[in-house]
Symmetry: C2
Subunit: 348 residues, 2 copies
């Protein structure tokens, strides 16, 4: 079978690799029916360190082909959604709903905290450890038209939702979303779903502005920095927003978020911190700005979001604006890196 390997900077290749097999009785083997490329995959792609080629990809849906003897909740033939992190479902953090901190877990395409190699998911087949704790099966095999929406629950929609939950978005709130990538766009949808009355999307790209509006944004702000802060305040009658959803991860985007929130407001952030390890506590203290969020425990949100997708109440599917056969995975990376596409879906 074939799997995607990152060999070095800008060097993504589909390579023949052995079919995965059950290694532990809690494993399942999944045939991947759709995967995708994440903004965070591009970090490795753009600035890969040397060393061994590694399997990559952490978002997928597929069909269970085989389960280990101890798997209880899944059987062969089930359609499953895989959160981007493997989790055992039984440890303290898993029980607390923070499966991203699972003591045995880790992201697909890395090594788990328990020291286990985790397959990258931009591939035809994947071995899923802790299948009961990790995978979520749909009640019936979904129509093909639902696949993009279901795939988004693997990461981007759950992550956008985590930004909204962490920012405490409540009915009637005003919300600002910083970042117009796939996660930011899903955050717009999440804030709308949680009842925000005003959702201001900060975006400078016409295609993303259109999708933000389709996802519920009531206003678009195309400026940044102090100018962007002023424009948000003008839209909100001279005030900051109740909630700001930070979906980028740079120092500049966090500053944008902190400067856009009202006293006593909340910043929910999901952008992997890339702009430095620090937050300005003085500004937070004086203005009682709460900062919450982190790596999204997508598994925790999956049941509720899945129910809404299956009920037709939630459709993040359009966040995938392009589709590539897995053979063209290198093109998908290049086009996403060049910002020609928002988020490419891969069909093995």
């Amino acid at each position: 079978m074939r799997a995607t390997y990152l060999h070095g900077e800008g060097d993504i290749r589909l390579t023949d690799t052995p079919q995965p097999e059950i290694e532990h009785p809690t494993d399942a083997i999944v045939r991947v029916t759709a995967a995708c490329v994440c903004g965070s995959d591009l970090w490795g792609y753009r600035g890969a360190r040397g060393g061994e080629a590694r399997r990559i990809g952490h978002e997928f849906v597929g069909v269970v082909e085989e389960v280990g003897a101890e798997v209880r909740t899944l059987r062969a033939g089930d359609f499953v959604i895989a959160p981007f992190v493997v989790s055992d479902g039984t440890c303290g953090p898993c029980r607390d709903g923070v499966q991203t901190s699972c003591v045995n877990g880790g992201a697909w395409g890395s090594t788990s905290r328990a020291g286990e190699r985790l397959d990258g998911a931009q591939a035809q087949w994947v071995r899923a450890p802790f299948a009961d704790g990790t995978l979520v099966a749909t009640p019936v095999t979904p129509a093909d038209s639902l696949v993009p929406a279901l795939l988004s629950l693997s990461d981007v929609m759950g992550t956008g939702h985590h930004a909204a939950v962490s920012a405490g978005v409540s009915p009637g709130d005003t919300a600002v979303v910083v970042g117009d990538g796939a996660v930011g766009l899903c955050a717009v949808l999440a804030a709308t779903r949680l009842g925000a009355e005003r959702v201001i999307a900060m975006s400078r790209h016409a295609d993303r502005q259109r999708l933000a509006t389709r996802f519920g944004a009531t206003d678009i702000v195309a400026t940044r920095g102090d100018e962007g802060v002023a424009e948000v305040a003008e839209l909100l009658g001279g005030r900051g927003a109740d909630a700001v959803l930070e979906c980028v991860g740079t120092k500049e985007s966090m500053r944008q978020a902190l400067d856009s929130v009202r006293p006593g407001g909340r910043v929910g952030y999901v952008g992997v911190p890339a702009g430095g390890p620090e937050l300005p506590i003085g500004q937070m203290f004086s203005n009682n700005i709460a900062v919450a969020g982190g790596v999204a425990p997508v598994r925790h949100y999956l049941d509720a979001l899945l129910a809404d997708v299956l009920d037709g109440k939630l459709d993040p599917g359009p966040v995938f604006d392009s589709e590539y056969p897995l053979e063209r995975v290198a093109d998908a990376y290049r086009d996403m890196s060049d910002r020609k596409v928002i988020k490419p879906l891969l069909k093995p």
Copy 2:
């Protein structure tokens, strides 16, 4: 009348000063019946910059002597509690319950955001601007025995409560309180009041440990740093706490807090940041640790806490372990600075 002035490092004096008068129709004149010294007063006391002597003190209760023509909720003779910050009660932040960010407000003994001089409260009389927005009257004149508890609502109890609310303390939670000053001790009481099942007080002083236990602490940890973190984890079965209440404000105490919380847990902080303006966002992100808090909007909490004090359900009064006539204010500062007393009450 006499008022306390800070003249320079270690130089606190009671000085004759003109009786305050109504300056605006929204003012009230209050005869102070009890005031106290705050940990933050000691910063000025210990490291006063040169320049003009200034009135000091921001916590008091007293009796309204006179009100301006536009004051609606108070009348002469009312017993009132003054939050440590003046607030107009009508601006956006005040309506949002963040009176500490009032656009016209400021702390007693400073200059307001509107540019108005605000009297220091370690004095016989005080002019209270925005009396309706700032002061809270008790339904009847309270017994003398209740005065310490009511005075604590002016700052320390409301601030400890803000730490607990910001840390999201809920029934059944495990909580750690970092800091055994008056605020930390009140935070123990607040966490207990909000239903925490375990409240671990970090304290190295026998007198404070006793008061923490009296206020509801189920456990005392006398160690700090990694050793303290390990001891907390041992008490909690190998896990971090659901909620950590940071009541000091140094870099070390914030690190203690962040290292003591479980993945997905919450740090509520009220210690004025003195140890640097930064927070480690990488650690927060990986573990989904929320950080909330800031300068406590005591006014927002006053009605609920006052009701509990008057009902006999809440008694933070013992946090005052000493009492000085206002004439001995210099002794009160010295003894608190030398940690001979936890928190001195001043009787004008």
